[in-house]
Every structure is written in structure tokens, then in C-alpha cells.
């Protein structure tokens, strides 16, 4: 069960609970279905002076932390179902609100949005910003009945151009490389083995191109929760993380970073240089842990720090550097 399914289940249980217990029905939407409606966004005064970690949680909040201290410095509310996140060169953070069919942009360390992008009728699952143009790519997963797409918002504004591919159905992850090439993923193979898991939109390209990405073994089967760029390679999250080269439509496996514990959400890699990033963070959600862990990168190994305060099954994660 992925995070969207978990939300849907929770939603259905909530509806069932209301129907069973609310007694006489009143008109209008049930207020309790917006669990954070009465809470307000806040941010500590000096938040913008720090490198910040933004975490999308299943309880519909986005919690914000000091990257270096792992302390809570703010909470962003008024989301319906926050999912994937990304950041632009200015440190502005984009948060895909899946159920609301929109993407909300916040300035680094701000508690109120800069703007909201309408993605309807599609449901945004993940996003990435093209470092060469500022364009915003949004991976749309429109469920089992409707094919998704990747929407490109020029300069992160206005009306997007949408790209589909006959061999991809659910678009659940995407990332640009430093050259402005976009890699998108179907997430996992699903019931139809003929469907592709990955497609590639070269910089300036006019169509998505299905590509095969090899794993650490010839028979490797991907189950990708997220894609990010580490400064040199695309990084695919698949419990551990795996580095690949994608160039001229050809993909090559480079190596893996083993994590203890493994990750089950998209990851983000701290990178304050032009080279390869130095630390990886990602959500851990199992019987013993529910948090966001820090790992050495690309070396991997045991987590060196952890965020737990305010974390509720973290999904989207991004790091916004102080400007």
C-alpha cells in the first residue's frame, strides 16, 4: 500500500466513522475531514537564516526543521494531502497537494504561500525544478482509472504543457539533472509487465521517451518511491538508493548506497556545492521507527541523526538552503 492508498483508506474510515456516529446530518462538507482546518501556519522568526528541511506528513501538515539541529522551526497547514516536494534555485519550496490538485509555493522560511498553481484535473504526486530554466515539472498520478502525465509549468507559473507516454500510466516520481533533462518514473511495475517504469524528456525535447534503467543485477525489478539528483547522478530510491547515469537516452547503473535502516519514501540529498551531495535524508516508517533519518552520502550505512517531532509517515522531503 503506497502513501496515496493509505490516505484514501484513512479518508474512507473517517467517512464511515462520521456516517455511523454523527447522528442527524447537516448540509455542507464535514469539517472534520479537514483535520488541520483550525490550525494556522507558523514559522520561527529566524527560520529563513537556516538551511531548512520540509517534510510532507500524512496528517496533512508540512513540518519544517532546522537542517543542522533537527529542531522544529515551523508548520505549514491548509493542505489536503501534501505529497512530493521540490525546491528552486532561490530556495522557494513547491509542495504538491495531491487531493487539492494544486502545487503550493512558499519562499524559504515563509509561513504564507507565494502562489498556488492549479493542476486540475490532474493530481500532483511529485515535482522537480529545472535548474537551467526554472520550469516546474509535476508528476501527476491520476489513479487506476486515468492515465497520468508530467506537467511542465513554464517558469513555475501559468498553464502547463502536459506530456504522456503510452508505456507509462502512473507518474509518481520525477527529477531534472543539472543539464535540464527530466527523468520520470511509473513507481513500480504494477500488474502489466509490458509497461515501462521510466521515461526521459531531454532538455528542449518534444516527447517523453521510454527508457530502461538497469539495476545492480540483470534481473533487477525496480520499485521506485522517488528520484532525485545528487549533483552528479540520478538517484533512485528503492529501500536503498541507487545511482544511475542517463544520457542520450541511454541509462547506466553506477552504484548503490546501502542505508540502515532502509528508506520507504522519496529522499533528498544535501548539496551546497556544485559537486556530489554529502548527506542524504529520507523517511523511515516501520514497526520501530517513524521519522526522517540522516545518512552519510554516498557512503551510506547507519543513520547519524533523526527527526521524529511532528513526523507522521513522512512522504515528501526537500532541503531549502539559506540564501
Amino acid at each position: 500500500m503506497n502513501r496515496r492508498d493509505a490516505f484514501s483508506l484513512a479518508f474512507c474510515i473517517g467517512v464511515a466513522f462520521l456516517c455511523a456516529c454523527a447522528g442527524p446530518q447537516s448540509s455542507g462538507p464535514p469539517a472534520s475531514l479537514s483535520p488541520q482546518a483550525e490550525r494556522h501556519s507558523w514559522m520561527v522568526p529566524n527560520a529563513s537564516q537556516q538551511d531548512l528541511v520540509y517534510v510532507s506528513n500524512t496528517d496533512s501538515e508540512v513540518t519544517v526543521y532546522s537542517y543542522s539541529q533537527q529542531t522544529l522551526v515551523g508548520v505549514l497547514t491548509d493542505f489536503t494531502q501534501p505529497m512530493g516536494e521540490c525546491v528552486n534555485a532561490a530556495g522557494d519550496v513547491f509542495i504538491a497537494d495531491y487531493a487539492a490538485k494544486q502545487i503550493v509555493e512558499y519562499a524559504h522560511g515563509a509561513a504564507t504561500p507565494l502562489k498556488t498553481l492549479d493542476d486540475a484535473p490532474d493530481s500532483p504526486y511529485a515535482c522537480s525544478v529545472d535548474p537551467t530554466t526554472g520550469n516546474l515539472a509535476v508528476a501527476n498520478d491520476d489513479g487506476a482509472s486515468n492515465q497520468g502525465n508530467v506537467a511542465i509549468f513554464p517558469n513555475a507559473s501559468g498553464t502547463p504543457t502536459r506530456y504522456t507516454d503510452s508505456t507509462l500510466y502512473n507518474f509518481q516520481a520525477c527529477s531534472y539533472d543539472i543539464h535540464g533533462n527530466l527523468l520520470v518514473s511509473n513507481g513500480s511495475a504494477g500488474p502489466n509487465p509490458s509497461l515501462s517504469l521510466f521515461a526521459w524528456l531531454p532538455k528542449g525535447g518534444s516527447k517523453l521517451v521510454s527508457i530502461r534503467i538497469p539495476g545492480p543485477q540483470p534481473s533487477w525489478q525496480w520499485g521506485v518511491d522517488g528520484i532525485t539528483w545528487d549533483g552528479e547522478y540520478f538517484v533512485l530510491e528503492n529501500y536503498y538508493v541507487y545511482r544511475v547515469i542517463v544520457t542520450h537516452g541511454q541509462a547506466y547503473y553506477v552504484g548503490e548506497t546501502q542505508l540502515d535502516p532502509g528508506i520507504n519514501s522519496p529522499v533528498w540529498i544535501y548539496n551546497d556545492t556544485k559537486g556530489q551531495g554529502t548527506e542524504l535524508i529520507g523517511g523511515v516508517d516501520d514497526d520501530s521507527e517513524n521519522g526522517v533519518d540522516y545518512y552519510p552520502y554516498p557512503g551510506g550505512g547507519e543513520a547519524t541523526a533523526q527527526i521524529t517531532h511532528g513526523i507522521d509517515r513522512a512522504f515528501g522531503i526537500t532541503i531549502s538552503l539559506a540564501q
Binding site: G205, R212, P214, S219, Y239, H248, G249, Q250, Y252, N264
Partner: protein
């Protein structure tokens, strides 16, 4: 993915190949070519451990290919994970060899066998003129993407585009195409793509520097212990493509997959002098719709023609295999756009 799911996936990855070994007795199906129609139960490079088959297809070889001694073109396709064999110059499909994982660059030897590098499988396969598996070499040091045959020694050079563990790529020399290879590098080069030997046994290999800052051409002189950079003058090559020695003209043909830094491919004739390569005449190619081709990864110059495939991720046409005139290039003499998905390597077997 949960811990348990991930663990099950890993167990499956380990058990499925083992099951394939048990089920196949570790042997290669025997070929039985017959009749005019393709036989679809023939050669697959799968030997023992089952590789990932994107198209789930079986190998087939036409009766014509089994009998012919005419030159044929081998094209590796990483999209379908197959190798296709075409007639020349008509480009009629004569065989499909399946069972690869990620087939890449190719080279042909003195016998007319074609060696196919497979990056994901870390293996180099030797196919006969009729597409049958003759031999295979294991490459545990990296991910092979190109190869070159030294006609003066019978050695096989293999280019690892990158090494295992995120290390630099390298050149492996398999003496007489067998045994354990020797490894060579140029400290200035990180990615190693395609290569070719000149008539004296000197090896030229193209690729990229570590920071992706640009193209690099290296030379591993015959019997040398290491490779060195060939400084290019009078032109710029942006992204590594084919490398082939043109004995008739005494020049090195080097491809550029980003010709003029655009989504287009071309090849250049280089004059090599000492440690310098002078970039000379450029040959550009058109696709069957009259546009510049998008991406020719590896072509092969053969009898005043260039054979190779255009991986068209640019969107103007579909991917296709072509024959063009050389050195004039331009409009294709013939093409076949019915088969290719993401073609990479090309070699002529004769």
C-alpha cells in the same frame, strides 16, 4: 516499499535466476534452421542465468542468414535488449538474437564474428556470422559499452563506460579474446565509450572527463602501459560516438552524438599526428523524413557507406537503421524503421 516487501523482492531476485538454471539445465538450446520461415526457437545468449527480456521474445534466424556468406549488419538495441541482424545494403531483417540485458557497442573480428558488449550483464558475447552464441567473456570490473578488435594481434579491447562502485571506467585488453584481461586507463578520462585500432595496433578510445565538462579522446599505443590524451585541434567534438580507423585514408573516424552541440549526430575524419588529432571533414546524416538524425551512437564505415541506427528521441521520426553514402552522408540510401527501439551498437560481419 516496506522492509518486508524489499526483502521479498531481494529474495525473488536471487531465487528466480536459480530457478532458471534448474529449469534450463544450464545449456543452450540447439539450433535447427529449416525452411523459408524464421525459426523462433533458436539462439538466445541466455546461458544458465536468465537475463531480463523486455520483449519476452525468442531468438530466430532466417534460413537465408544461415546460408549466406555475404556481409550483414549487427545492431544492438538497449530498448528491446535484442541484437538484430540485417542484410546489406537492403536492410532486410534476417535474425533477432534475444536474451541480452543491456546490449551496447559492438565490434567484429577477423573470423566475421561480432562481439556485443552488455553493460548490465557485465558480459561480452561473441556471435557468429549467423547470430549464434560462440563465446562469452565476463567483465567484473565495470560496465562494458564498447569494444574494438586488434587485427594485428587478435586481442579484444573492451571499454567500460564506468567502473563498478562508481569508479572510473577503463579499457580492458583480453589477449586473444580470452582469459583474464589487463586494465588500462587515462587519468584524465572518466567515462570510456567507443574505440578502434589503427593498422599498427594503436587503440583510440573516446569518452568524457569526470566532470562531464567535455569530450576526450585517448590513445593507448601498442604495448604501452597507459593511455594518454589526444589533443584535438581545428574543431570541437561534444559527445562521444563511434571510433573507427579508416585504413584507406589513413584517418580516424570519430562520431559526435551532439554535433555542433545540438540534438544531431555527425562523424569527423581526424588526422592523427603524435599526440594531436586534427578535426577534419564532417559528414552529416538525414533521416527518412529529411531531417537531421537525432542520435547515431555507433556507426560503421564499410565500402564507402556508413551503416548505423538513429535512436530518435527527438520526435521527428521513429528510430531506424540506415545506410548512407560515405563521406557524403545526407539522404539515406536505404532504411528499416520496423524494428529498432533504442539502438546503440553496429558492426558488419563478413
Amino acid at each position: 516499499m516496506s522492509d518486508m516487501t524489499a526483502m521479498l523482492a531481494r529474495i525473488c531476485c536471487l531465487l528466480l535466476p536459480a530457478a532458471a538454471v534448474c529449469g534450463c539445465n544450464g545449456g543452450l538450446p540447439q539450433s535447427t534452421v529449416s525452411g523459408a520461415s524464421p525459426d523462433r526457437a533458436l539462439t538466445s545468449v541466455t546461458r544458465g542465468v536468465a537475463a531480463f527480456h523486455p520483449d519476452r521474445g525468442k531468438s530466430w534466424i532466417s534460413s537465408k542468414l544461415a546460408k549466406t556468406t555475404s556481409p550483414v549488419l549487427f545492431v544492438s538495441d538497449s530498448g528491446t535488449a535484442d541484437v538484430y541482424v540485417y542484410s546489406l545494403p537492403a536492410l532486410k531483417l534476417l535474425a533477432t538474437v534475444t536474451g541480452f540485458s543491456q546490449p551496447q557497442g559492438e565490434c567484429s573480428d577477423n573470423k566475421g564474428d561480432v562481439w556485443v558488449t552488455d553493460a548490465s550483464a557485465q558480459t561480452i558475447y561473441e556471435l557468429s556470422h549467423s547470430g549464434r552464441l560462440e563465446n562469452e567473456l565476463v567483465d567484473s570490473s565495470g560496465y562494458p559499452a564498447g569494444c574494438a578488435w586488434d587485427s594485428t594481434t587478435g586481442n579484444l579491447a573492451v571499454m567500460n563506460i564506468i567502473g563498478t562502485g562508481s569508479t572510473s571506467g577503463s579499457v580492458l585488453i583480453f589477449t586473444h579474446a580470452s582469459g583474464a584481461p589487463k586494465q588500462y586507463t587515462n587519468p584524465e578520462q572518466f567515462y570510456y565509450s567507443f574505440g578502434g585500432y589503427d593498422a599498427s595496433g594503436d587503440l583510440f578510445v573516446d569518452g568524457r572527463r569526470a566532470d562531464e565538462a567535455g569530450f576526450i579522446l585517448s590513445e593507448l599505443p601498442r604495448a604501452a602501459a597507459s593511455a594518454h590524451t589526444v589533443k584535438l585541434t581545428d574543431g570541437t567534438i561534444y559527445f562521444p560516438g563511434m571510433v573507427q580507423w579508416n585504413a584507406a585514408q589513413g584517418e580516424l573516424i570519430v562520431g559526435d552524438q551532439s554535433c555542433d552541440n545540438q540534438y544531431a549526430s555527425c562523424i569527423y575524419a581526424l588526422t592523427i599526428s603524435g599526440d594531436t588529432g586534427k578535426v577534419g571533414a564532417k559528414t552529416s546524416f538525414e533521416n527518412y523524413s529529411g531531417s537531421a538524425i537525432c542520435d547515431l551512437a555507433q556507426g560503421v564505415v564499410f565500402h564507402n557507406q556508413v551503416e548505423g541506427s538513429d535512436y530518435d528521441y527527438c520526435g521527428s521520426t521513429t528510430s531506424a537503421t540506415y545506410v548512407w553514402s560515405y563521406p557524403s552522408g545526407g539522404t539515406p540510401l536505404d532504411y528499416n524503421n520496423s524494428t529498432d527501439s533504442a539502438p546503440v551498437g553496429a558492426a558488419v560481419s563478413q
